[in-house]
Symmetry: C2
Subunit: 225 residues, 2 copies
């Protein structure tokens, strides 16, 4: 039997990331308790956990809300992500196993295939593979605190989770970064790996900020489940 707080936490987190609870949306404890079939106690605990991850903000006696991020917030978040992912890549370079790098190369191939234009293109599949790819790097960094901080900064609404904003050039650049990162890690060159990772994150930041400034091809709001 899993704990109710874990179910509520996972459900709430997924709902926020999928846009079920829009930014600025109110999160009443009783309402969420009803939706999840549990009582307010696990809901409260889940909300507090999400608060420290930055996914919700709670005001004393006034409940929890989904924060709507300003462009300055996004700037801040990506700067932090660059810093932390870069440091993780550097640490990983001297700790990762060849087997892990092999898997990363394999993932590169799969991502490139899913990114190829045409009927076979599957941008959601890329997101999955991408998550595993970066997960390997973080795991190889072997720093529980660094990883937990990364989780607090990476998994934010509309920060990641989708490659739909990426142009063909963006996708090609991302793929090149992935290949190069694997090469740097295989060479056990921490500085190289860190540099590539920083570029990778900054490129993602550029894509996002471009989309925020001109919210035309943005499809996150239209998601319903």
């Amino acid at each position: 039997m899993v704990r109710a707080v874990d179910r509520v936490y996972a459900r709430l987190r997924a709902d926020i990331l999928d846009g079920v609870h829009p930014p600025g949306g109110r999160l009443g404890e009783a309402e969420l308790a009803g939706q999840t079939g549990s009582s307010r106690t696990p809901v409260r605990e889940a909300l507090r956990r999400l608060e420290v991850e930055g996914l919700v903000e709670v005001l004393p006696h006034r409940g929890a809300r989904v924060p709507d991020l300003t462009p300055e917030d996004l700037e801040e978040i990506y700067d932090l992500r660059m810093l932390l992912e870069g440091a993780a890549a550097r640490r990983a370079a001297t700790r990762i196993t060849p087997k892990d790098v092999d898997r990363m190369d394999e993932l590169c191939g799969l991502m490139e295939r899913s990114a190829a234009p045409g009927d076979g293109q599957d941008l959601d599949r890329i997101a999955e593979l991408n998550a595993e790819f970066h997960g390997i790097v973080r795991a190889a960094a072997a720093s529980v605190r660094l990883v937990s901080m990364l989780n607090a900064v990476v998994q934010l609404p509309l920060v990641t989770r989708t490659f739909h904003r990426y142009s063909p050039d963006d996708l090609a650049r991302s793929a090149a970064h992935h290949r190069e990162l694997a090469a740097a890690l295989r060479a056990a060159d921490g500085t190289w790996a860190e540099s590539v990772m920083r570029a990778h994150v900054l490129a993602a930041k550029a894509v996002l900020l471009r989309a925020v400034d001109r919210p035309g091809n943005d499809d996150t709001e239209t998601r319903t489940s």
Copy 2:
């Protein structure tokens, strides 16, 4: 009326940092509720907050414990602290006001006076001034997420809070770092400020690791309140 969870949280945190609850010590909810005069609910919430800050570790159905940090943990923590404090110093360089730098210089003078050998020496007072000094830098960094991450990493048992381990040379070096950091910030030179800050943190790490390897002059265990 302040919330009970805040009282419990502050009390518990202070007790852990002061060594009232030694590393490895068990933290029963009912026991803590009795000590703080509240019920288990605020205690639970406070424990969860402390968990994400790394001050306690909770195992499902098995309660909370104060984690005892291995030398590898300390290594990891100081690496992260170097990274984050360095980044904060860099951001602060282009955002800090001259008034804040003036105050930092003032604090430098006060710390140097408190560090001077003799009857006037007051190492605990240095800790206070030092906290304000670095607080100014963090505030000037103007990044709520960066600051919260720093708080999660800095305020750990036996990481800071005391200058009793510092030799006269260590104290002199620390003072020099502080003066230089103020100068770098006044010059609005982010790279300079970051470099000094990284050196400052690494120097502190060296002092701590030296003390851990040869736990002779360590007085944290003997504290009772």
